[in-house]
């Protein structure tokens, strides 16, 4: 067992799937010799050859078409879209084609494609590099959308994503890439694609979050603990499907909930979680459902990012409101 960054954990997971299954292929812009612009695929071309790990021309729709055609001819593609903002160029490939194909073939053909893509605010990138675009994808039937919040889950989930016969959008938070280390087993292990995880137990209020906001929620929980407010924090991990069982069990215990996301508030994951809770658990709640989300503007210019992205203080304040309701 070694301490590993989030990014190294993903590299380790990709190494594992390339080793396990000769039909797996990694491709995208700069993923070959350069090992990706973040170095997520570093060393993999040297180890597995240019046949398995290769650069493509610079065109995201082409990359998705490639993935679908390779799946049709028996391969297990792992395309990278260099930044999540660039998925707009591949929207037909992901939403119009890939996600629908298993259905279109009446379940007779599998499209085991894992699309890896970095996203997430806070590192002052150029425009369209940090946006949280999951809201567009979670409303797409046929597509699984997952995002790990720590190195252990990152490795276990990338392996599960590649092994899944469903198409998976695997969102990697670029702020987390090198900002945290965890004990990560060198050997193979998997983390399920459809289950949330209680990352901090508590009895007074439930905070549901994902990706970088999990760490912000944990910070908020520490601050709340100083005033004897015992918060339970749930990491969704899977954004589609949403593991409502874990959320509902927590609410039955705490009777109060705050739903947190880095994305804009309009529609999307937080709204879905709030709606699921309202539909099934409203009688178990002692207070309204609290929501913490980014404002409904276009993603901010980099200098203003920190004023825009919800942080631990925002979560703590909302949790106090709901707790004291």
């Amino acid at each position: 067992m070694a301490k590993m960054t989030y990014i190294k954990a993903i590299t380790s997971g990709l190494d594992q799937v390339l080793n396990d299954d000769p039909k797996t292929l990694i491709f995208g812009e700069d993923v070959g010799k350069n090992g990706g612009v973040f170095r997520t695929t570093v060393g993999l071309q040297d180890k597995y050859g240019e046949d398995r790990v290769f650069d493509t021309p610079l065109a995201e729709s082409g990359i998705l078409g490639l993935a679908i055609g390779l799946a049709l001819t028996g391969w297990r593609p792992i395309p990278e879209i260099q930044f999540m903002g660039f998925t707009f160029e591949a929207m037909d490939g992901i939403v119009g084609q890939l996600a629908r194909d298993h259905y279109r073939f009446g379940g007779t053909k599998n499209f085991p494609v894992t699309i890896r893509t970095p996203f997430g605010g806070g590192t002052h990138t150029a425009e369209m590099h940090a946006d949280n675009l999951e809201n567009y994808f979670v409303s797409t039937p046929g597509l699984r959308v997952v995002t790990p919040a720590n190195p252990y889950d990152a490795k276990g989930m990338v392996i599960s994503a590649v092994e899944s016969d469903d198409p998976v959008l695997f969102m990697e938070n670029l702020k987390l890439y090198r900002s945290m280390k965890d004990e990560v087993p060198d050997d193979k292990y998997t983390v399920p694609l459809d289950s949330a995880k209680v990352v901090r137990e508590g009895k007074d209020i439930t905070i549901v979050a994902y990706s970088a906001e999990v760490n912000e929620s944990l910070k908020a929980a520490d601050a709340l603990a100083k005033d004897n407010i015992d918060a339970e924090v749930i990491d969704l991990r899977s954004l589609s499907p949403i593991d409502t069982d874990t959320i509902f069990a927590s609410i039955d215990k705490t009777h109060k909930v705050v739903v947190v996301q880095e994305a804009q508030k309009m529609a999307g994951v937080g709204a879905q979680v709030a709606s699921d809770i309202a539909e099934e658990k409203i009688m178990s709640l002692d207070a309204p459902i609290g929501r913490v989300a980014a404002p409904d503007s276009v993603y901010p210019f980099a200098q203003a990012e920190n004023d825009w992205i919800p942080n631990a203080d925002d979560i703590e304040a909302k949790a106090r409101d709901i707790f004291n309701y």
Partner: protein
Amino acid sequence: MANGSKQIVDFAKIKATMADPYKHPVQVIDREGKVVNPDILAKYSDDQLVDFMKKMVWERTLHEQTMNFSRQGRLGFYAPTAGEEASEMGSVTAFKEQDFLAPAYRDLPQMIQHGTTVAKGFLWSKGHVEGNIHENKNMLFPQIIIGAQYVETAGVALGIKKNKDKDRVAFVYTGDGGTSQGDWYEGVNFTSAFQAPAVFFVQNNGWAISVPRYKQTAAETLAQKAVAMGVPSVQVDGMDIVAVHEVSKLAREYAAAGNGPVVIETLTYRFGAHSSAGDDPSRYRTKEEEKPWFDADPLIRMRKVLTDKKLWSQDQEDKLVEQYKDDFKNAMKEAEAAPAQKVSDFLKWTYNVPTPSVKKQIAEFEAKESK
């Protein structure tokens, strides 16, 4: 610089000559039925030529019968194919069973020739999942998003190359409007960058619904677009089945030998409407424009060649038409007998492993469906 001295670059000249290599469509039989390339025609046996004609009669009858079915309300979205028989039958017959076809919505006739059934074609049009499933046949369903089949073909061709399949290529169709899509370039370019085996057809039928070919691009030919991707290309008389077949066969051989892809522009014409769903060509094109194309009908010139060779008669053709009509009517009966679709099945096919909410919805619909 002195007046009249030569410029370092002459853009006007480049523009005036850039289409030169591409604007000489390959032709074997001209519109009057005169054989202009007897050496090529001589490579084809009488049986082959008769078979070409039968396939075109088959496709024309399919067109007419589907228009009847449409009027009777027995089909859904259907893209008429009359006028494009030489382009479609001439090309598809150059491919082998193991080749992978990525069709668009006007390519049901090629799909049927490549191994699926007429009934499945009708089921696709009627909106039934069985029209999408062609098990053990190397083909996709007809693509609706123009261009998507081009990028997917790049993947299929690369997959074929990586699998080291011998004597196997991907082939794909779009129309003149399709060449304006970004996916068109991405598909051809990716395939070329990977030197993967594919043949890209552009059936230039003059119209993208109501927008004429000249409004799609200032390029004189669509074939010349391939040069930017390092891909050889050619225009072919798309009303001449022998020319289309010969060019397609050469393209397939070239691609299968590992030389990378080829682009073929067939010059053809859509005799009818864009689709059976209310398009009326009289809104956007004139009888004066249509006339010379109707005269160029691929069946007319092939009929003449075969009649001259005493290989064909009107009586023989009439009998074939009746036989094909019966086949299509039987296929329609088969399609109409397909079991009703169930929403619970749609839910089951959405994921390999249904998600919890989908599982719940499956149970809800199964309960409804069992009532």
